[in-house]
Symmetry: D2
Subunit: 330 residues, 4 copies
């Protein structure tokens, strides 16, 4: 089988380097371009001293036309807004997997309410992109050439709620993320002294991942409370949901999905450094299900899912490049 020619636009952020880590151990991938506007020809080993053994790779400012023409798939690891601006350079010319929020929602108004900027491409919001959550949309992903990769909180909470789809009266969710969820952008709230030993919630019921959760769960806004929270650790998200439902969880939704594990107890270190999502469901008091779930926010919450999507788009084994068999322990 010939190798898939892959390019990455925006490789220097946390999700870009995590993606690179996956691609480098993917047997069917050839890295074509690592693109960054700030660097043209800088060896990767110079940008990232931790990669000093990788002589052959360099980050370039290659024009997008060339990148599109010579790549089978392009990963866009850019923030929202920046992604919108470059998507037309690639769309229809090659396959795209977009890490940003710009094409996750189907509705310009919702986008603008949560992101506080105008959306430039309303025409692309009606199904041009497929939402890249393989456990829900695998068939659509397989046929698409443009994927909107989910938000990390959204991805976990959607799968946590999935076994109750259409059968929930209400859901209350708190999800605690490591500090790497904030991205590589130095500012007070991600300082080590500020984060050490701290827990705090932010944007309760106002987080940007909320509309993604609503879209797949069938919940209405007034049926969901969502408290995004940051904890004093590097990687991982641990979610706890209290779900008002009489239904038993329909765990068959996860059949044939290799990266979801149903557990008696969820522990965050069981999934960090792997592509697994661990989920548990127990019947609580008062018609509530106590649901817990965990994933690695940078891997399964971003770059690992992106690689899953690529594998599905190219018809190869969904786990390829993601065979981190065992969580790093301890």
């Amino acid at each position: 089988m010939s190798k898939i020619k892959v390019s990455v636009v925006g490789v220097t952020g946390y999700t870009g380097t995590e993606l690179l880590r996956c691609l480098l151990q993917h047997d069917h991938v050839e890295i074509k371009y690592l693109v960054s506007r700030q660097h043209d020809g800088t060896p990767l080993s110079e940008l990232f001293p931790r990669l000093s053994h990788m002589d052959g790779l360099a980050v370039t400012n290659t024009d997008h036309e060339t990148v599109a023409a010579e790549s089978d798939v392009v990963f866009l690891c850019l923030p929202h807004k920046a992604a919108q601006e470059v998507v037309p350079n690639f769309l229809g010319k090659t396959k795209i997997i977009d890490f940003s929020a710009d094409f996750r929602l189907s509705d310009k108004e919702t986008y603008e309410r949560y992101y506080n900027i105008p959306h430039q491409h309303e025409d692309l919001l009606n199904g041009r992109f497929v939402y890249g959550l393989p456990e829900i949309y695998r068939d659509e992903i397989a046929k698409s050439d443009a994927i909107a990769n989910p938000g990390c909180f959204a991805l976990l909470v959607q799968l946590l709620l999935l076994p109750f789809k259409g059968k929930m009266a209400h859901a209350d969710v708190i999800a605690i993320s490591g500090t790497s969820g904030g991205g590589r952008a130095a500012r007070d709230p991600v300082d080590h002294p500020f984060c050490s030993g701290n827990i705090r919630s932010y944007l309760v019921n106002n987080h940007r991942h909320t509309p993604e959760i609503l879209a797949s769960s069938g919940l209405k806004e007034e049926q969901l409370n969502f408290a995004p929270t940051v904890g004093p650790f590097l990687r991982g998200i641990f979610a706890n949901g209290f779900i008002k439902t009489d239904a038993e969880p329909n765990l068959s939704v996860f059949d044939n999905h290799p990266f979801v594990r149903i557990k008696d107890n969820v522990e965050m270190t069981h999934v960090v450094s792997t592509n697994f999502i661990d989920l548990s469901y127990t019947r609580g008091h008062g018609g509530e299900i106590i649901a817990q779930g965990a994933l690695d926010n940078l891997l399964r919450g971003a770059s690992g899912t992106a690689v899953q999507n690529m594998n599905i788009m190219f018809g190869i084994d969904e786990t390829e490049g993601l065979n981190f068999n065992t969580a790093i322990y301890p």
Copy 2:
């Protein structure tokens, strides 16, 4: 004013040393005996090299009769079961503040169900001890000579729910504790490698602090879900409650209680190393209140509250010995 003669039985655990830290900066206290069965005459500075500057204090195996006779108040920092066995040595002879769970509940059956051991002193469960939560029982504490100091999770959750007492249909609570909550007893689940970067719940709806919460909140067992959780940090508990209620929070319950602060946002590092409990309440979707709270589990969650109780019992300023004015920051 003459000094209060204070003794501590079981000084070598985490709550014992934290209590000592408070007592040593208490202007109205004289430390009489630090009692431990394992040590007789060992200088404190030898037991705890961090206290090497405290020449004068030693840990002794003084008989309880002498301790009771010569102390105005005795703090019992022993685990449950061990406390039961020694309580008769002190009760009625001096004032007692008991850190254990042995006299917190009013009902032998509930005790035995949660603690899995027989209770030896059913006669002492009917009001002989006052539950030492000053924000609820201050008047009773003032008149009592025997206090059952609350459990750390229980203390925080009770105050979190207090503004809705009698007006809740249901409450779902998750509370995340630091690893010092496990006490000083080396075993696998508190190993540093096991705890680093980990979050996990345990004993969901089965934690021993549950009946304390039910007793003061007026909730029935089937109205409460409680998920005790351990996180990768040393000190502090962060609690998040989703409370089903139409009522607005009655914050006047905290009037004249110097250690409760109502905040817009709760952050754990705002309370760790202080005796404060921070609480916040916001109206969520679907008739739910999103309530958050935090405290330092060893200080306000145990030893600080014990000192509050002592201050109230002796009619002195409730904040004496607890004037840690500012949380250590960063």
Copy 3:
């Protein structure tokens, strides 16, 4: 005794808030002005939600003339260069304790080499300021009205070497600081994700605290190697020195210095949250002394020493306001 009127210029950084924590529990201090150019009349409780219980204090942009006139002592918690600019507003008009590096060195050329900016006040470098290390210069501090408070690394290393003053052939020192040593200035190297689990040295033999160490130790530059290092924790410095000397340590230099403890083993958590410096000395192989020391970088390494200096300047007990009797444990 009437209270000392104290003002703080630059109260919002880490050392400023730590100083405030000390001053608030100092029995002989009255806080006069908390000065910051960015805030005029902002309640402290608004600037720092963790201080929401402190109603009475506000941060103001009071002119320096007024501050000097109405204060018995002014603490300048400003970075170098900024300190130089405001020192003339206070010098000779009130007592000054300056946290910056601007008046620690006696030599304009050395200053300019290490700090890469011109020094505006060469005239003030010849003894106008006393170097504020009480264990060495207590008598001079007592007579001075202008103190240059030491750098945190410099303070620890100087005391580590002090018992061998004049008798060392060579010293090799590595000192590992917590991330709070970097100050409150969000930037990549202090991000939580960057610091978590990381250790790295920086500015080896080129750190700005080096000339302070040389000045008091009597070592020449070619006799000292100094590797400043950052570790994955919040507070504390742990120093390890290999000292080439035939002499035994002269520990009498620490007689009557209440904040230095000589230990068999140094542990960082024994000093963090206290004003102690712990030191140990053992004879190694090949004529080397293995010296270890630790302190809390924000407390004893900055604000605690500043309070010691104030106490000495005003002739009151050196430990006043610093009676954190016990390190927070665990």
Copy 4:
């Protein structure tokens, strides 16, 4: 190529599970037996819930005769003393890679002095085992059927000193390890509360890895000071050496060794989760070289090196099963 049949004795400790992680992604390995006395037939997924997706593997109490007969190589992940007792069951019958200290030294007396137990197999100390440090003894490893895998501290320090072999007058080394270096044996010094925020040295100049360092470096005991230290993190060792030498480092010793990288600056997170050792050398003052190095103590410091040794013994690519191309970041 037919697969190498591999068995592991003592798979439940930290090095055992880390070894398993490597073997599971090794293309030329077939796992034959995972042996543990405590478990017979327990699925791995039951012992380690993090491995719940690995249905096929079980831990058994298979007799050693069978294990030896059916395995091409056996890894012994047992503590010292326990290893001695079982080595005769395997030696000469199959290839052995022993993680313990029992066969690392060539001298019974030194062993007994450092380990405080008698050595039962003096006859096996004279070259029967090859010391498994590939960067020094690769040729001997290739020809041997019995390897003594190095200690983690020893491995790093030996490579740190190697470029100066025979040319050092003296070396002073401090090495800081994460808490996973203590192994999976719950006890006070590895408790999370005890380790959080702490740094402490132990067994200075008396650590059991010392004789391994002396053996390969050519240093005499009186020429080396070694301060083993534990820091508040999970994985990794960071070593700092001050080396008295006039020689320049002979970096050619690392030619053709794929897992050693010479860097300008060493950072611990650049190597944790990889099999790399990063080293840096700078000329300090007074004829000293400042040498720094780092590795992942469980991977390169134990199980990764063991896999390297296996690869060399079987004549396959040294990096096989160790292609963790990129350190997990952040």
